[in-house]
């Protein structure tokens, strides 16, 4: 009690200080204080920050929740948490226990912390104007049902997620009913399910992130007005793995991204009015799979390089536009030297359509019979979508 009175606004916690535990520190703190946590391991959980406070770790203190319940819950506005290692929030099938939870707050900040082996690491619920930056979040998820998400946002607004490294969780970053968020320069890798997962979240933006080696890539579902640019989607391999999976997305923009070595680079189901521009698709199994329930999407100035299949679809109908893309399979010529091929390009091969209908047919890939069939079909299209054509294929790669 004395110390908080003497050092106006600064509460020190540590083995050599009056307050030896964080809960004591929180108890004596008054709104607006700074709580300085000195190095050491604090075996504490169910901590609550009830008023505005700045929690700062000195020399890497560790708060160990011992895999039971939640570690720290913030219910006040403008709370900052910085430089602390959080370990072991408890696994539960009933509660979404997090290392740090913000509950109905504004202006929270979580920066430069380390999270290890938590069920959920950072959980933002019904909060606004938060910033989560430069944290290192590592989990040891083994099965989807027994693991939580790295950064989880629910019913929140104006949150910025920046520069974090997230691995080993179920979803790296999960957003549900979230608006006006920016997700930028994060690296989300080796998560069990998705590197980033959007649900029912409109007007969001994510850029300059790297998503690689996640179980199923990145999923954006049931959202409108999502801007996705300059991201890298790479090495998502598996029977249902995607670089980027879009489901029921409207009026969005996907530009300058790189899709490399994914089973499916970009998968689109029931998506409307999406601009897909200037992306690079290389060495994917399928660069783009676009289901027939997608309409009015525009693919333009993308590069398609060394993919096993460039475009696959499941129907003869096509309601999307492809123009001025570069296809490394294109064999046409350019008589007037304007950089645009004079012969249209058909990116859907008959074989890709067949495998879409009958997956085991994949075993015939690169067989001579299939090559002959594809060749015949490309001259005289009967089964492949007649209107899925790039009328103006580029002769050179779009830089």
């Amino acid at each position: 009690m004395m110390s908080s009175g003497l050092h106006a606004g600064l509460v020190q916690v540590g083995a050599n200080y009056p307050q030896t535990t964080i809960s004591q520190g929180l108890e004596v703190s008054t709104p607006g204080d700074t709580l300085m946590v000195h190095s050491g391991t604090y075996r504490e959980r169910a901590l609550v920050v009830p008023h505005q406070l700045t929690l700062i770790g000195q020399n890497n203190p560790v708060i160990d929740g011992n895999f039971e319940g939640e570690i720290l819950t913030v219910t006040a506005d403008n709370v900052t948490i910085e430089g602390i290692t959080f370990k072991g929030s408890g696994l539960s099938h009933l509660d979404e226990n997090a290392a740090i939870r913000f509950e109905e707050t504004q202006g929270g900040r979580v920066s430069n912390n380390i999270f290890e082996d938590n069920f959920f690491a950072v959980y933002i619920s019904q909060s606004e104007k938060c910033l989560i930056e430069n944290n290192i979040i590592k989990g040891q998820a083994k099965t989807e049902s027994r693991s939580g998400n790295g950064i989880h946002l629910w019913y929140s607004k104006d949150v910025t997620i920046r520069g974090n490294y997230i691995s080993g969780h179920r979803d790296g970053i999960y957003l549900e009913f979230v608006e006006q968020c920016v997700v930028t320069t994060n690296h989300s890798t080796k998560n069990l399910r998705y590197g980033l997962h959007f649900m029912f979240s409109n007007h969001n933006e994510y850029n300059n992130n790297q998503f690689d080696m996640n179980g199923a890539g990145v999923a954006v579902m049931y959202s409108r007005h999502v801007d996705m640019h300059n991201n890298v989607f790479a090495d998502n391999w598996g029977s249902s793995a995607y670089g980027l999976l879009l489901k029921d997305i409207y009026d969005s923009n996907i530009s300058d991204n790189q899709f490399s070595r994914n089973t499916v680079g970009l998968y689109s189901e029931a998506c409307n009015r999406i601009q897909v521009e200037e992306n690079d698709f290389e060495n994917n199994g399928w660069a783009v799979k676009i289901m027939a329930n997608s309409m009015d999407n525009v693919f333009t100035r993308n590069n398609f390089l060394a993919n096993t299949f460039d475009i696959a679809t499941n129907s003869r109908q096509n309601f999307n536009a492809f123009s001025q893309n570069y296809w490394n399979r294109y064999r046409g010529y350019d008589m007037d030297k304007d950089g645009i091929g004079d012969v249209p390009f058909r990116p859907v091969k008959l074989f890709s359509l067949l495998t879409e209908k009958n997956e085991p047919a994949l075993m015939l890939m690169r067989s001579i019979f299939v090559e002959i069939m594809d060749l015949a079909e490309s001259y005289l299209p009967i089964l492949t979508p007649a209107t899925l054509i790039d009328e103006e294929p580029l002769m050179r790669m779009n830089q």
Binding site: G285, T308, E359, P360, M363, L364, R366, I368, F369
Partner: protein, 260 residues
Amino acid sequence: MTTLLKIIKYQLHDLLRGKWFIIYTAVFFLLTDGLFRFGGDPGQVSLSLMNVVLFIIPLVSIVFGTMFFYNSREFMELLLSQPISRVALFLGLYLGLTLPLSAVYLIGVGIPFMYHAGIMTGGYWILLLVGVSLTWVFTALAFFIAVLSEQRVKGIGMTIVLWLFFAILYDGIILFILFALEEYPLEKLTLILSLFNPIDLGRILMLLQFDIAALMGYTGALFSKFYGNMFGSAVAVLALWTWVATPVWLGYRAFSRKDF
């Protein structure tokens, strides 16, 4: 045994005098080297070579094998008038052709690979293995047909039909079966069907090296799981060996009863 070696040695001399072998080596060498110079990346070179291997090697082996057998007729008759066992003669002829054919392929493809990409490139070994295996399989089939059919034209016609069947028609039949039985789970069936065509077997072994991303679906996962583990690899190798041994044995059986 010594007779066998002597026959093989004689065959080598005989074949190396012909221009065939130089042309065959040069084709592989220039193709591989050229692909490296234009394409560059060893993965793509392997992919392009894969089509050549699957198309050219069976065709050359089977046609050249039959022609070779017919052309050796007088040599055979001469040797059979001597106290020489028919096993030694038949195997001598067979090895005397397959060994140089395989060596030519290994040199033509292997050397450019070595100085362009190093020998540890992924898929390189499987490319060589499949090429050599297909040489052995289709030479064996060629010999079997040549023993059965006295007439040259008929024999060569049959080999071409057989090649057409394995290289192209078989896959058409598979596709037909897959769509006819669409409602059933077919993954296991495709796995079994792939064992009954040496070209398909070779193609799938190579696909698992090169087109991994596209093969990550359920079918692909099943294939890579099967062919990726010890048991599957053993089955694949055993199947390829069976494809060599069966026609050799059948050919020898017909050869040993043949009245010259």
